[in-house]
Symmetry: C2
């Protein structure tokens, strides 16, 4: 895409005109930059499974034209009168969450990702597969200098999603952390858990991923269906998609262990019995993106420890190629679009 029209009143991106359609060039009028808003010239945008779910309306509620993209990196070009922290010319990142009410108890306590009136960057709004976006500055985060834009883009949603439960559940370096799946989320989860100082167990049904999992920081690589695999980890991050055989995964937990589920295909069932939870006092829970303060911490932590996504870079106009490879599970490990 040409960025020559960046200063006009039109934004150009790629949108699906109907359920499951290929993305096509699409223009819309640039919204007014409100007092809390910034206008961002997008340089990169990561491609997340959620974008695919939105295009295919897997969760219901998608509206078309649908312009996805919510792992945005770009440069601030304009700012509203109340924006203090961000300056024109700064490099910022924007993730899944686009806004919150700002008035409820969750917003008050810095847990905007729990706000019942939150809105997503690309649900009911036009997202990041575009040349620019007008965004709420409270959900745009300065990108620390050491992070490369291409490999940092996937941190905004994927990285935040896997980092958040490590913080929520007070993970410390004495704990044993498991990761199910070595994909877009999983390869980031392994790196964060390793950097937190934990002993890292990776469970996968793809033996060929062992070498890379260990390169990302795994200490152990096991088949998740190994008959003797049990009582191993304190926290198990389930990053795969498909139905969750919670009964088997709960067996991998040590007493007090927690299974955290973060993929969200449509109608994804969790199969378990009460005894699986009661014996050893175990937990099944979900992770939904991350709060703004946690995203800030995540970016600082990633910069300090050199954590970044392993990416395949596509030109923005090749968005449909990237989507096809993602749908076929052929991306290692995260696709990023570049303007």
């Amino acid at each position: 895409m040409s960025t020559s029209d960046i200063t006009t009143k039109t934004i150009e991106g790629y949108a699906a005109q109907k359920v499951g359609a290929l993305l096509e060039l699409f223009q819309y009028d640039c919204p007014q930059v409100g007092p809390w808003d910034i206008e961002v010239e997008i340089t990169h945008c990561g491609l997340c499974h959620s974008d695919l779910h939105l295009i295919q309306n897997d969760w219901g509620g998608s509206t078309y034209p649908l312009l996805p993209g919510h792992e945005i990196i770009g440069i601030v070009k304009q700012k509203g009168s109340l924006v203090q922290e961000l300056e024109i010319g700064m490099r910022v990142g924007i993730g899944w969450q686009g806004s919150s009410c700002g008035k409820c108890e969750w917003c008050h306590q810095g847990e905007e990702n729990l706000c019942l009136k939150q809105e997503a960057t690309c649900v009911g709004h036009f997202g990041g597969f575009a040349n620019k976006i007008v965004a709420d500055s409270r959900f745009a985060f300065p990108i620390p200098e050491p992070l490369d834009s291409v490999n940092a883009a996937p941190l905004l949603c994927g990285g935040a999603t896997v980092f958040s439960p490590l913080l929520q559940h007070n993970v410390d370096a004495t704990m044993k952390i498991g990761v199910v799946g070595v994909g877009g989320l999983g390869h980031l989860a392994i790196q964060f858990a390793k950097a937190l100082g934990c002993e890292v167990f990776v469970f996968s049904s793809s033996p060929e991923k062992e070498a890379e999992a260990k390169k990302f920081g795994a200490h152990h690589f096991l088949s998740s269906t190994h008959p003797n695999a049990e009582n191993l980890v304190d926290l198990l991050l389930y990053t795969s998609s498909g139905s969750v055989d919670a009964k088997s995964y709960l067996k991998l937990l040590r007493p007090k262990g927690k299974l955290v589920i973060m993929g969200a295909p449509k109608d994804q069932q969790v199969d378990l019995e009460v005894f699986d939870l009661i014996v050893g006092r175990k937990t099944v829970c979900g992770s939904n993106i991350a709060s703004a303060p946690v995203i800030r911490k995540m970016l600082q932590f990633a910069a300090l420890h050199g954590i970044e996504a392993q990416t395949e870079l596509f030109a923005m106009q090749d968005i449909n190629l990237a989507l096809e490879k993602l749908a076929n599970n052929e991306i290692h490990y995260r696709a990023v679009l570049e303007n």
Copy 2:
């Protein structure tokens, strides 16, 4: 039962000779009192649904003759050479857990209820529906003076089970606590949540229980299937039996809310989808009795706040009548046997 033979080398109790049988008078040789053991003359023993499950071998693994009973109150009659805290003549209580390995990390950190080698008072051992018992002193707790023996007996298992998650999950007085079910566990859960200073919501399908639920301390009494009931509580203690419609109960939770399941019938399914957990970052977990330190705290807290079970008292020889009423859900709210 006569207690005239309390000083002989025989213990008399009531045992099932086979799966589902009525309990019959049964004698066994009094075990040696080891260095850490105490011999307790049983005055009272509460009747818990778990006893029924054991008799009926609902969980598999029951061995017969099976002498149940694990909500014991009695008087220390003998003590081993290493027992320091307990003295002959003291009134003590004994609950579900009878022993632990004493050597694992969970035992080291005072979470013996997570020990993988723990044993139960009346599984593979003869329990509390008897005139006496020889027990590991580390799992026998002094009963604070203000507590009545009859109404304190059910605290040892039922009380511990509902109190423990309130502590584990750091409940404070600003939180909203829900209780599903107004029965043996539920009526204790309401009292503990009220005494912790919380706003207490009771969910029940029995409208006739509203007055008593409010007497126990409930602020609100709602039908659990009320179509508008959602986003109400931070912690929901599920004390009912039967399959858990987790999907509906998760809706009752506020963001970050937790559903704690404590009943454990055989093959009890938990029905939910991943989205139910991810939206609002919710949790489903189990509670398994309580650690020894938590049982001590629970007894002190109950004594301070006047929390006790509402009981129906039976003579020990009427154990089968009590079991029948329990099986028919006719006990209000907890049966206690007396020698």
